[in-house]
Point group: C2
Amino acid sequence: MPQPSTPRKTLGRPPRISREEVVETARRIVAEEGVDRLTMRRLATEIGSTPMALYHHVRNKEELLVLLLDDYAARTLRRPELPAHPRERIVVAAAAIHEALAACPWIVEVLTADDLMSTSALWFVEQIVDGLVECGLPPERAVHGYRAIWYYTAGEIVVRATAARRRTDDDRATYREQVFADLDPDELPRLAQVADSWAPLTAEDTYLDGLRALVDGLARGRLRC
Amino acid sequence: MPQPSTPRKTLGRPPRISREEVVETARRIVAEEGVDRLTMRRLATEIGSTPMALYHHVRNKEELLVLLLDDYAARTLRRPELPAHPRERIVVAAAAIHEALAACPWIVEVLTADDLMSTSALWFVEQIVDGLVECGLPPERAVHGYRAIWYYTAGEIVVRATAARRRTDDDRATYREQVFADLDPDELPRLAQVADSWAPLTAEDTYLDGLRALVDGLARGRLRC
DNA sequence: GCTAGTTTCTTTACGTGTATAAAAATTCAC
DNA sequence: GTGAATTTTTATACACGTAAAGAAACTAGC
């Protein structure tokens, strides 16, 4: 009988910093000065250590950002009142996730995560999948439907955030104007027709409209709903 | 009468490299060795110049990648036969864009462009907008509909490409398995129900299903279609 | 107490994108 | 021709993420 009781202290040199401390300090830097100022060196000095020491607590900077996203989700995601009607329930759950993520655009670099797998987001995923099942989809199709909603949601945030970033660099906007000004109304009549209003139209926030359309389409032709 | 005829040669030191040469060489490097090997220094030596000289022909590396994407689109996008039925036309046009982009995953880093504004992609945009108008949407709603389709399409590609990239790093997959194994079936019954099949389900390519649902939803309740 | 094993931390170094400043190569005004 | 203006190219330098090697601080077995 080897080690029955004695919990035997951990082996090796005792750590002076913890993963929690790393994430918490990173969170503070981002909150106070923006994500651009979060560098491994800066984080290390802030924490009183050296850059490479961090790498014993997070695999790399990308993992650190994922941890920050999880942390952010755990802090700010609040479960909303959900309507009884399943289709509307899906919309409310997805919109809640969207709202939380859109409010923190620095997250974009990580947002391309495969799924939102922070445990605090799982409840929302459950609601969406469950709503789709209640709409009459078999469970596998419901998962596919959730994925479609996630693609749409993540895509909206990433595209809009990148557009906003590029708008400060500007000049790409000018290029787009040029493209629209040079449109041949014979070859591309619809685009020529909306050319002038393209910029304001694409600036509008129509996430909810698109989401409703997608959910309607997913639930269409099903028994219930 | 100042300069009436004489076209007067361009001022300043004559360039030794051109933007076209930069883009073309970059394209070759990416084609032959992958996007990871495309660095400004490598590109410069390949072209017989110095890194900073490139910055007189492209604003920065991101713009270079955008130019590469435009170039790729111009080369590979072929206009498919379009069905007469407007809804199916939209699906075919969007799927063609999706297929071209999905085939070149290195593009992901740029894909978050505001729109696909390469001139060779505009014809597809026209088809989608026009299809939506034919479905009975007013032009503004049609533009919004196109945007929704673009969000969905870009999101799908970005999410899947990132997932693939992380899968080589692995270990995030393991974490996800852990999350699903620890699910409380009382609190999250649907997820617990599909926990085992989550990975294979999310690996399936269901882009077309989601696209059809979205287009159906966008066109729903309209006069025509 | 000593040595081996194990973990964490530090040092050093490399390759990256690109800012900045200076040099080089040309045209234009006279 | 000479000097100013203008454009492109080069040289140098910085901050970044992180790989690699080894030093430091601890426990376990003897």
